[in-house]
């Protein structure tokens, strides 16, 4: 009964919130509504028995994206786009999205209703993967190739973000002396580090892992940047480059090493697989946290500075 109520509420609120995000007049309202939408969709994932995705949605989709959007708001003027006029001007865009929605809906409905998917096969070979959690087994062992390429994509994305927005000013020093944010930072940082470490460790046998832990570390980094306890990471710094590269380099090393002993690429030896996966996840956490921080453009330049540059 309560389950039905909760699911019904989610099913009603999610489309409503999505509609409100698109409809609302003011940009800041749209951002707040979008964060609320992300939180509810994380709940939805949790209800669908996908706690891994729920964690990522809450940490990346809501936390970090929310911070990025809020931050972008402080760079822009509050001039909402006229959504309806734009929609009238581009009817083909509406048509294309409607067609895409129909296509996706048809694809979902065309799926076999009671297919077990690849779950049983993963379950059958989970013993060999070195970890107990099936999601981690797929991500880091069975389909390690996909994850490796994903990390490469993330690196390119970080480079792109920095190329678009190369400035990384340091904030004025009076922000660093602010007692309020300073105390918040002091209280939250140990908890953030603990949670991130726990998530990497728990990935072995439960929902968690490098992406979630990296996102939480990056969240702490964003607070550090905003309260001026840390400058924006610069690509010119050697430490930043190492942080960006440890994960991919270690992963490539672990993946290539089996080739030397006559195995195939990324074929982890069964006895060492658990340890290797843990080490790779630790390194990936650092890299993912740094990549996510690279998206954060740093503190807002003064208006006079902005005017001078134009």
């Amino acid at each position: 009964m309560t389950d039905v109520l909760l699911d019904g509420c989610l099913a009603l609120c999610l489309p409503l919130l999505a509609w409100l995000v698109l409809r609302t007049e003011s940009l800041s309202q749209a951002v707040v509504l979008f964060v609320a939408f992300g939180l509810l969709s994380a709940l939805g994932w949790a209800r669908l028995d996908a706690p891994d995705i729920a964690l990522v949605e809450a940490a990346v989709g809501t936390g970090l994206t929310g911070a990025l959007l809020m931050h972008t708001l402080s760079w822009t003027e509050e001039t909402p786009p006229d959504v309806r006029a734009r929609a009238r001007r581009r009817p083909w865009a509406l048509l294309a999205t409607a067609a895409l929605t129909l296509l996706l809906g048809w694809a979902v409905l065309a799926l076999p209703a009671d297919s077990p998917g690849l779950g049983p096969e993963v379950e059958a070979r989970r013993e060999d993967s070195g970890v107990k959690h099936p999601v981690t087994a797929v991500l880091l062992n069975f389909r390690g190739y996909d994850t490796l390429l994903e990390i490469a994509v993330l690196l390119v994305a970080a480079l792109g973000a920095r190329a678009v927005n190369p400035r990384s000013e340091r904030a004025s020093s009076d922000a660093a002396k602010d007692p309020l944010t300073g105390e918040l930072f002091r209280m939250m940082t140990p908890a953030l580090l603990l949670v991130a470490g726990y998530l990497v460790w728990v990935g072995d046998h439960g929902p968690g892992g490098a992406f979630q832990a990296g996102a939480i570390l990056a969240g702490g980094g964003v607070v550090a940047i905003l309260t001026s306890r840390m400058g924006t990471p610069r690509m010119s710094s050697l430490r930043v480059r190492w942080a960006l590269l440890t994960g991919p380099l270690l992963f490539i090393g672990v993946g290539v090493a089996p080739l030397l002993s006559g195995r195939r690429l990324l074929e982890l030896p069964e006895k060492l697989a658990g340890t290797l996966i843990f080490i790779v996840e630790m390194a990936l956490t650092v890299t993912i946290a740094m990549v996510l921080l690279m998206f954060f453009p740093g503190t807002r330049p003064s208006r006079a500075g902005r005017g001078g540059e134009r």
Binding site: L180, T181, E183, L184, M187, M188, A191
Partner: protein
């Protein structure tokens, strides 16, 4: 119904009432400072009561402890965000209802 369940239900209902009052306050109060008061103070108490009610029903001490940690972190973050939002509002010149802003 055991006394423990009754106590838990009482806590949950009181928490729900506080949450409702806080929501009405956010919708009805005249200015940003009053609304912040409704949102943080009353929601913290509401969440605290709900957590207490749930902790009474939880199967183990570990679950109860986790629930109280949730409350603790919400307390910390809402206390700080309340101050930050109020300060930002003051800097942007939001005038308290019925008051005057110092020049």
């Amino acid at each position: 119904m055991s006394p423990l369940e009754l106590l838990s239900a009482a806590f949950l209902l009181a928490g729900a009432a506080f949450c409702l009052a806080g929501t009405v306050g956010v919708l009805r109060f005249p200015d940003v400072y009053c609304r912040l008061h409704a949102l943080t103070k009353v929601d913290n108490l509401g969440l605290g009561l709900v957590v207490a009610g749930l902790a009474l029903q939880s199967a183990s001490w570990a679950t109860a402890l986790k629930l109280f940690l949730v409350w603790l972190f919400v307390l910390i973050s809402s206390a700080f965000t309340c101050q930050l939002i109020a300060r930002a509002a003051l800097r942007r010149g939001a005038v308290p209802s019925g008051g005057r802003r110092e020049p």
